[in-house]
């Protein structure tokens, strides 16, 4: 089970310092310094880094729980990315620096290489929050394997773009950059990094879905049409009940992936299938759920001043990152088919 103090701390910080206005301001380029500092001061940014490497040394599940809360808050900071970066560095025994980080690459066909001269080569697209990161944790090919490398962001060539959520999503060239530290990644490969990213995104999505359910129910209770709250109309009730089902399924699927990783590590087929299930199911819930929430909110939910879009736009972004439903479904489908029909049920019940 998770450490409730960590989760409570995160919840309190977001309640205090992650107002809708802060989130919109971040989209305009204003770095939410107070929020980030509070997270950092409370040790939440290096949750997955062991004590001896400068981190909080918390359990895997604690980190995922923090990300659930962050997703619920639509936190406009690279908390997930910094957590992942710290984790990646820790795999190689590299100490994690302070400050925001991101990871590279985010695609399984990524092609960053670490040369014998200690210099990096390659380019990575769609790196979340690259422009605000102080460091990038890179998983680079080296010889026949992979190394984790810590790179200062300052000297990198960054082409800025934005995700659908309005958050930084940048293309970064690593050509000629020198790693501050670089060590073999202890068996980790790009597929595992992407898998880990997918699991992380499912937690954030599960949180965002909880948020839009809350908002939609509240709106349905408050908004009066035809002389009564719209939540009294059967059609609205049934839609929100369906939304609740999607939220519940997403939370459950995301937790399954997190628990699998906590128990069995990031490598291996068994974990891969848990993550696949989660990314598929949560991705579907994100689409269905956002549509229902918007329908319930009417025109108000389509405005920039209402905060619904802060969650729905992130859902639409996150479902696509680290492999969308289709990509994971193909992979999972092949895995299941390869084992044969009679292994379906054992497959479903494996691990429990």
């Amino acid at each position: 089970m998770t450490d409730s103090i960590i989760v409570d701390t995160a919840t309190r910080i977001f309640a205090d310092l992650c107002e809708p206005a802060t989130i919109n301001a971040a989209e305009e380029g204003k770095w939410p310094e107070a929020l980030w500092n509070a997270l950092e001061e409370n040790g939440l940014t290096l949750t997955w880094v062991p004590d001896d490497l400068g981190g909080a040394g918390a359990e895997m599940l604690d980190g995922f729980a923090v990300l659930r809360v962050a997703g619920r808050a639509a936190a406009p900071v690279p908390l997930a990315e910094t957590l992942m970066a710290g984790w990646l560095l820790a795999q190689a025994g590299i100490e994690a620096p302070a400050g925001p980080m991101t990871i590279a690459p985010v695609y399984a066909d990524g092609n960053i290489e670490l040369g014998p001269d200690g210099k990096l080569r390659g380019r990575a697209r769609d790196l979340p929050f690259a422009r605000v990161a102080k460091h990038v944790a890179v998983l680079a090919r080296q010889g026949g394997g992979y190394s984790a490398a810590l790179v200062e962001a300052a000297g990198l060539n960054i082409r800025q773009d934005k995700s659908l959520a309005g958050e930084p999503s940048d293309t970064v060239s690593f050509d000629g950059a020198t790693a501050t530290a670089a060590k073999p990644a202890n068996g980790l490969d790009l597929a595992a990094l992407v898998r880990f990213g997918a699991a992380v995104r499912t937690q954030q999505m599960a949180g965002a879905l909880e948020r839009i359910l809350d908002q939609s129910v509240q709106w349905a209770l408050d908004r009066v049409q035809f002389g009564r709250p719209i939540g009294k109309f059967q059609a609205v009730q049934h839609n929100l009940a369906q939304l609740a089902g999607e939220v519940a399924a997403a939370g459950s699927a995301a937790d399954a992936a997190a628990e699998a990783i906590a128990e069995r590590g990031i490598n291996g087929n068994a974990v891969d299938s848990d993550v696949a299930v989660a990314k598929i199911r949560v991705g579907e819930a994100a689409g269905t759920g956002a549509a229902i929430a918007h329908q319930a909110h009417g025109a108000m939910g389509f405005t920039y001043e209402h905060s619904l879009h802060q969650s729905t736009r992130r859902l639409w972004t996150w479902r696509e990152e680290f492999g969308n439903e289709r990509a994971w479904a193909r992979r999972l489908g092949r895995m299941v088919a390869a084992q044969g029909a009679d292994q379906l049920w054992p497959f479903i019940t494996q691990g429990s």
């Binding site: 009730q237 049934h238 519940a248 399954a256 628990e259 299930v277 598929i280 489908g333 088919a337 044969g340």
Partner: protein, 387 residues
């Protein structure tokens, strides 16, 4: 916060994992012995009865009931047994209703002599139960029931009609919801009482209702001055609305709510082979993601029951998601299947074709039986604070 229901993670205890292997071995032996068809679940009534006795002998009926009525085991162990039986299409119909619903009602609200008499006989696999709930004018609205029980010397006289009673033609007993008083102005649910009724009682006529698959599961039951002894009164007179519904609603989330069409998917996997094309792989992956998630949620409810929680809304969520998924499954599979033509090898895919047809035919009932989609969404909406 609207979102105030939860699906706790569950770690199955070691004994449950061992039990799973035990059940699988048992089923393997039964399949080998020809006790039922492992692909369709087909078994004769005699086979189903014999199977119930064997399952009873293993101690797998009434598992969670305290001793001496049952076996005092955990909800998680019971869950494992149930899902293994369903996954391998074991013919549980002789005992499943009693195990899932009737037994727990008797255990909780029955009079002591009845508990002592009935529960061990259920747990042994001997008795088959059915549930007398729906009436011609009372389907989703169970509290509109009008079949009445009138007090008489030493018992009650029952008159009226029940409908959609599954398996009544094979059942020994029924637990029926009967009208003992009119509803009150303040409480339209007042005035109904639960009774245990022997199906072979004088005055009972059972008429089969053939369904659109051509099969016979439902029945219409006519009561003509049927005598029910006082001892068979279950719970308080007129107060059935306080009993039953909520506590037992957890059973909504059992694996029977998302496995009913699963065999069409399994058979499809068999025809699809180990290296499906992209389209097929994508389709398979999507269904597996839903299935695995439903199963986790369903198991989670069992775990919460074991922990003494009352996950009523969670159970409704699982049933709503589960029945919608299993209802849609045959059509999803249909659209993955290769096109049939004159050059398709004969009977290559015959078992799959049969499963697809059968599941297409039964799919409509899945979001109706045991609480319609509309009723479930109403329960969830209430859980959200909207009603």
């Amino acid at each position: 916060m609207a979102y105030n229901f939860h699906f706790d993670p569950v770690e199955l205890p070691a004994e449950a994992k061992e039990l799973r292997q035990e059940v699988r071995s048992f089923l393997k032996a039964e399949i080998a012995a020809g006790s039922f068809d492992p692909h369709t679940g087909r078994a004769s009534n005699e086979q189903a009865r014999a199977f119930a006795r064997k399952v009873g002998a293993r101690g797998w009926i009434g598992m969670t009931w305290p001793k001496p009525y049952g076996h005092g085991r955990s909800h998680l162990e019971r869950y494992v047994v149930t899902e293994e039986m369903l996954a391998y299409h074991a013919p549980t119909r002789h005992y499943s209703t009693a195990d899932r619903q009737s037994g727990p009602v008797i255990l909780r609200y029955g009079q002591e002599p009845i508990k002592q008499e009935m529960l061990p006989r259920i747990a042994s696999g001997e008795l088959c139960f059915c549930i007398g709930l729906s009436e011609p004018n009372s389907g989703s609205d169970v509290f509109a029931a009008s079949t009445r029980a009138t007090k008489t010397d030493g018992g009650w006289l029952v008159n009226g009609r029940k409908i959609w009673t599954s398996n009544a033609h094979n059942a020994d007993y029924m637990i029926a919801l009967l009208r003992t008083s009119p509803p009150t102005k303040e409480n339209r649910r007042h005035g109904l009482t639960q009774f245990l009724i022997a199906c072979k009682s004088k005055g009972i006529t059972i008429r089969p209702i053939i369904n659109q698959t051509g099969g016979h599961d439902f029945n219409e039951i006519f009561f003509d001055d049927v005598f029910v002894p006082d001892l068979h009164l279950i719970g308080e007179v007129d107060m059935a609305w306080k009993q039953a519904t909520d506590e037992l609603a957890y059973e909504r989330s059992g694996p029977d709510r998302w496995t009913e069409t699963l065999s069409v998917f399994t058979e499809f996997l068999r025809t699809a082979g180990p290296e499906p094309d992209d389209r097929t792989a994508e389709g398979i992956g999507r269904e597996v993601a839903h299935l695995a998630t439903l199963r986790r949620m369903s198991l989670s409810v069992a775990g919460m029951l074991q922990a003494g929680k009352t996950p009523a809304v969670e159970a409704a969520v699982v049933k709503d998601l589960g029945t919608n998924w299993e209802q849609a499954l045959p059509n999803q599979v249909r659209l993955m299947a290769p096109e049939r033509g004159d050059s398709t090898p004969e009977s290559n895919d015959d078992r799959f074709e049969q499963a697809l047809r059968h599941m297409t035919l039964i799919a409509p009932k899945l979001t109706i039986q045991g609480g319609t989609r509309e009723v479930l969404r109403g329960i969830i909406a209430r859980g959200l604070g909207l009603r």
